[in-house]
Symmetry: C2
Amino acid sequence: MKVLSTSKSHGGIQGVYSHSSEVCACEMTFAVFAPPQAVEGHVPVLWYLSGLTCTHANVMDKGEYRRLAAELGLVIVCPDTSPRGADVPDEKDNWQFGCGAGFYVDATQAPYAKNYRMYSYVAEELPALVAANFPVDMSRQSIFGHSMGGHGALTIALRTPGRFRSCSAFAPIVQPTTAGWSRPALEKYLGSDENSWRAYDATLLIEDGHRYGELLVDQGTADGFLQDGLRPWLLEEACKKAGIALTLRMQEGYDHSYNFISTFMDDHLRWHAARLA
Amino acid sequence: MKVLSTSKSHGGIQGVYSHSSEVCACEMTFAVFAPPQAVEGHVPVLWYLSGLTCTHANVMDKGEYRRLAAELGLVIVCPDTSPRGADVPDEKDNWQFGCGAGFYVDATQAPYAKNYRMYSYVAEELPALVAANFPVDMSRQSIFGHSMGGHGALTIALRTPGRFRSCSAFAPIVQPTTAGWSRPALEKYLGSDENSWRAYDATLLIEDGHRYGELLVDQGTADGFLQDGLRPWLLEEACKKAGIALTLRMQEGYDHSYNFISTFMDDHLRWHAARLA
């Protein structure tokens, strides 16, 4: 693991690191905020998964999580959203596929299967690296994310029962298998057999019997992607049928940007901290 | 005035606006955060001046001022740091002069005198525009800034007695007339007669009899510009001689970045809000 930068913030350390990923077959960059409490001992860890076009840096710069994470004593890990580099196949000028658009799946189709394995990267390889290199208590983990990263958080939490004490999302893509901005990517990563897509769709995972204790979702009503891309009512319906306690809060006038995320960041941090205590 | 974007944040509105500036003879962009209280009536306004290389956007993205400004009911205005555009003379690849490096002076030398008039822009033209277009109580103004913008805040406050109820700075350039990164710019903007530079140097303004009630300055000890560029002890010495109540806080381990600014943003907002009440 390489240390790319560290900077003191709110009494803790905001670092950026990279490592040679076996899973993604390229160098991967990620951000870790270690709160002041991490000097004294192992602390809980909260995973934040970012949305389309983002790297580790967007939420690090604009998410406004450090003040309260420092107070609550949470490590915050922010992975990248895809493999990157000269050897990674990409579609230039397509922001919904390839670099910045890994969709937290393990691709099975050539030429993407070699690098685009963000499910295994986020669920397995990076946690092992973080556990080995940071003062984290891996028995106390939670996960959240935004948009494509909200989809990632929900699907990973649903597929790894017992791993995450809590899961929440800002404006998640709740049903990527039917949304216009994700279907082409899923087909290229996973092939045309749509049954193989079900493992990467929160509503279909629930339909297929996966369960989770409770979920928190915030969604802005002025979000331009609400009607076609996000559609939280589909998650609401799935949770209702399955008896999953979903708290869905429609937030009047908020858009899809980091202004929305940062506004409700404190609520989410407190939600997770209460469950990580 | 053109509205470039608005986005709901922490119950208020973060907007970005532009206008045709007479003073700078170009289109100028600036950011305004209006807290929820601004819907009900006129509220105090706090000016934030940014540092070298920045636009209005850096502190808007990374400064983490909105949560508490919304709570305290403060309008936050973030101007650009220089004129910009195809017609504005600039030195490419020089981050200490020209675009992004206006140093809050009114240039007197050709070809810069036409556009580089950031002192008058920030002290006169933009306040008039903001007063005319936003619900601000101009009898309750304060000012702060970072690095070059800390220099701007200190010099403008010292030169406009009674205008700003309070003034603070993060890692300000306290004596630009003797610092290596500002002397070449001052010479190009103002000419070789160094007497004309004194109006743009906080320590020399104090030496020349300007006074201010009290000042708050935070400075990181791990700031790479501390020894050569910033040197807060020069301000400390000037304030001591002049009987100005300076609170200078050396913050252990903090660097020059927005991680430093955002860490102490709450303290500065509360300091100003108490004096704007």
